[in-house]
Amino acid sequence: MNNLMKKKVSVLDLIRGNSVPLMFVLICAVFIPMSGFSGSYLLNEIMTRLGRNAFLILSLLIPIMAGMGLNFGMTLGAMAGQIGLILVADWQIWGIPGLVLAAIISIPISILLGLMCGVLLNRAKGREMITSYIISFFVNGVYMLVVLYMMGPIIPIAHGTLKLPRGYGIRNTVSLLPMRQTIDNALAVYVGGVKIPVLTLIIIALACLFIVWFRKTKLGQDMRAVGQDMDVARDAGINVERTRIISMVISTVFAGFGMIIYLQNLGNFPTYSAHTNVGMFCIAALLVGGASVEKASIGNVFLGVILFHTMFIVAPSAGTKITGDSMIGEYFRVFISYAVITIALVMYETKKRKSQSLMGQMLAQAQKDEEEGKTE
């Protein structure tokens, strides 16, 4: 009887703990037949999006490990990646060498931005997510200043095709045609009509291996300790502030690389808006994969990409079938993205408050028992 109860509780806990992925499995199960897409088309799309987005989402794992929550500041790295790509496009360095050079250029910019973000977040402990979100707006302004006014007169831009007609600043769209899908097409294999971008997947696998290895290093263990309890970690001799800054720097550098992989798949990017939604959608995908503000794994990344992007692919078509208006589907998938983040944050806060209240009750009970014991 007891075992049965335990099993029931554990099944309930399992459902409660994975409510977001389960909800998305349901949504996908309903929407996929409605969309009318063939299996191979869906698989092709999911594989493309897996290669495109997984690296970006992996960049979110390390700050979560360090207890800094969901890094909305990953857009900083995305901007660094874009600056690298703009310069490489101007210097006419094409193909994979161009992407490697863009990644190298993005590293110092990402490190600087990550350092700045880490230092600021250390001054806003406990409010990292909202702070990093606002920092991303601030750095977006700096990015605009650099790209819109400094590229041309201060940072040399040779090609008129990149510059605005007035002679300085970068045009609305930067073409990456000579680099388009160069990573995806290298070593690509086709299985049943589905293109598998082997080199992209190898790069993603290397990033996963790095994260697994990093967790086992002294720094990785320090980050986990900081993530669990900053005061205990500080008492144990860990430099909490430094550890948190390093986690932000690693995440920002990874986000820069991720953005380059993401944009090479697309083949062009809107200069002033490509980075703005990246953070939001990556965080939504990670949460859909079953991650939370305080815990995320590599498995969550892949499950999240598959579920979230399946919904992204089928929602417009299913929306058209249901309502006769494809815009409803478009709105639906954006609404879902923001809703997932909201629900996850509310659930996290509720859980935190519940556990705090439970701890308070236990403490009060212990004090009461102690007082009763004294009087007796």
């Binding site: 999006r49 007609p165 600043g169 939604n277």
Partner: protein
């Protein structure tokens, strides 16, 4: 220990710089324009062959008759091309692969095939392609009297 760490960091930075430099050499892209037209050089005229079939890699790029131009792209400072030359109509075809050095500082390069086949110096058969200035098109971004980029954009991203 600190000294060793510093050396490793400097080595890592140097390695990245070297990789970046190598990438900028091997990844330098050029647009190559191949011209099959007569060339006048030092008072001598080099006539264009009747037909030149151009192969880049394993693929046939184009067939050029007199006064025709073909274009392709190339990475790095050497352009490898296979030319199948037919001097006169219904004449014999001669196929040969050439490795043409391309100057690093030129984005677009015009190669005159008759001049190159005649073994003329680089300044004779190779010139820089300069695009004719096109009419200025309106770009709404960032003009002094226009809205900021992104302002008024649709808030729904087209795709992820």
């Amino acid at each position: 220990m600190k000294g060793r760490r510093l050396i490793i960091r400097i080595a890592a930075v140097l390695l990245l710089i070297v990789i970046g430099f190598v990438m900028s050499i091997i990844g330098r892209g050029h647009t190559i324009y191949l011209d099959n037209r007569a060339l006048d050089y030092n008072g001598q005229t080099y006539k264009a062959p009747y037909k030149v079939t151009i192969y880049v890699g394993d693929e046939q790029l184009t067939k050029l008759y007199d006064k025709e131009r073909g274009s392709t792209t190339c990475l790095g400072q050497t352009f490898t091309v296979t030319l199948e030359v037919m001097e006169t109509k219904n004449g014999a075809e001669e196929t040969q692969t050439y490795k043409i050095p391309v100057p690093k500082n030129m984005d677009g390069v015009i190669i005159n095939i008759p001049g190159y086949l005649a073994g003329l110096p680089e300044e004779a058969y190779l010139s820089e392609f300069v695009a004719a200035p096109s009419a200025e098109t309106e770009d709404t971004t960032g003009g002094d009297d226009t809205s900021l980029p992104g302002e008024g954009d649709d808030l729904i991203p087209s795709d992820m």
